[in-house]
Amino acid sequence: MTRDRVRVLCLSVAIGLVFVLAWQAFAGSRPPGKGLPGPLAVGATAWQMLAHPFYDHGPNDKGIGLQLGASLGRLALGYLAASAAAVMLGVALGLSPLLYRAINPYIQVLKPVSPLAWMPLFLYTIKDSGQSAILVIFMSSLWPTLANTAFGVASIKRDYLNVASILQLSWPRRLVTVILPAAAPAIVAGLRISVGSAWVAIVAAEMLIGGTGIGYFVWNEWNNLALTSVIFAILAIGLIGVLLDAGLARLSRRLAYTE
């Protein structure tokens, strides 16, 4: 490891330690059972939960592994569907300035709507809470990827498109060999933002819907005012978010190019 990396790591760990100690001091000063639990209490709960992550006591009580798995499953379905749709539509908009300008106002209106606000509408029309949750994910993963793809495709240098025209590449070939690779850095940037907002949305949606999922887990533990579990769940959610983002960061590095 380079000297620089070591320094960064040390500083990071130091900040973390300071925070944990302050937290413990603050929480430890209150009587146990009341107020915010400290890191030791959270650690004890974490240990318990991680020891049996896949237990199943019926639909309302499952291990943390199963809960996270359920959430990630929903995330995968909604996110992948949204990404596919966003890339396709984004390419179309990027290639056609006319289409882009015509459709853009609608996008601007729909974009700021919180994905959770769509939930009642979905529940009412689709009549299935599981599918509604997936659609909420879909709505929250759509916009960043769409915007970035359209921008990335619209910014492709004329030269590359000219070469594609001269070579008389068929549209599918043009898409795969020229357009998508050229716009790839922008597309992946959009995907990274989208996965973040999708993960945020799934937790919130599950709090409303119930069933199995980390959001439902948080809500259930909150019912019982079991704050150690809630904090542990928050840390788990954050960790998964980091992993998702890191995965896409890797993809981003592979698809980057210098002009």
Partner: protein, 279 residues
């Protein structure tokens, strides 16, 4: 019927300041025989790159048209490959992949092995053996343009269009690549139309040189033959009286054009066209 006919091509652009249009060039007419190497020289703003784009099919003429082997050109096509001033290589592809993109497009029925062999041949032909896996960002300007040449020649195009291909390459490397170009052209016997502002380069490489007046409203002033026999060696050329005379004529044309432009603004050459000099 000529192989490639530029038939009274006119080009207008919408004007930047104020309404109406600006005429870049008007009624440019000449033809190119198969296998000929023709260069166009002129001031900046005379629209020579625009004319090249029209021949390539990347732009449309406002008046007149371009006819290749009896058929009018309206779209870009692989029969008219272009070598760009700024190389236009796909930066996410390696050298090999860049050339292969063209070969695959030119020979869709070939299998992978045959395509790979063909690509390899041209990569070696431009002297880039060993650099196949590099991406353009890792190459110098000269090397990148060699890839451009390899890409263009590998498709055996009917017409090769070169748009100031060596303008961005340093003087020392330029000579080497010009030789590369001649070598490949001699082997491939393609028809070439090149645009350049380098007079020496024009004389060195071409069979004929078309001279454009200054824009706007540029016109084709004259076309001079370059009767110097090939192969043309740079060292010998410097002493050659035909070369010197031709060079002087063209430079005078360009200079007069500047002076004339400063005067009456029309850019009509004051010099008389150079008659073919008997040997």
């Amino acid at each position: 019927m000529a192989f490639l006919e530029i038939d009274h091509v006119t080009k207008h652009f919408p004007s930047h300041d104020g309404p109406g249009e600006v005429c870049v060039f008007r009624e440019v007419a000449f033809s190119i025989a198969q296998g000929e190497f023709v260069t166009m020289v002129g001031h900046s703003g005379c629209g020579k790159s625009t004319l090249l784009n029209i021949i390539a099919g990347l732009e449309r003429a406002s008046g007149g048209g371009v006819v290749l082997e009896g058929r009018e050109i309206t779209q870009p096509g692989i029969d008219r490959m272009v070598v760009f001033q700024n190389f236009s290589l796909m930066p996410w592809m390696t050298v090999f992949e860049n050339v292969r993109l063209a070969v695959r497009a030119a020979y869709p029925s070939w299998d992978r092995r045959r395509i790979a062999a063909h690509v390899q041949r041209y990569v070696e032909m431009v002297g880039l053996a060993g650099a196949e896996r590099k991406r353009p960002a890792a190459l110098s300007g000269g090397m990148r343009q060699r890839v451009g040449l390899a890409r263009a020649f590998s498709t055996a195009p009917k017409v090769l269009l070169l748009d100031e291909p060596f303008a961005q390459i340093d003087a020392l490397t330029r000579g080497l690549i010009q030789d590369e170009l001649i070598r490949m052209w001699t082997a491939g016997r393609n028809t070439v139309f090149m645009v350049t502002h380098d007079v020496d380069e024009a004389i060195l490489l071409s069979d004929r040189i078309a001279l454009m007046t200054r824009g706007p409203e540029a016109r084709l002033a004259e076309i001079v033959d370059v009767d110097i026999p090939r192969p043309r060696l740079r060292a010998a050329l410097i002493e050659d009286p035909d070369y010197l005379r031709l060079r002087a004529h063209i430079l005078r044309f360009l200079v007069e054009g500047t002076r004339a432009a400063a005067g009456d603004g029309h850019g009509a050459p004051a010099t008389a066209p150079l008659a073919a000099t008997p040997r």
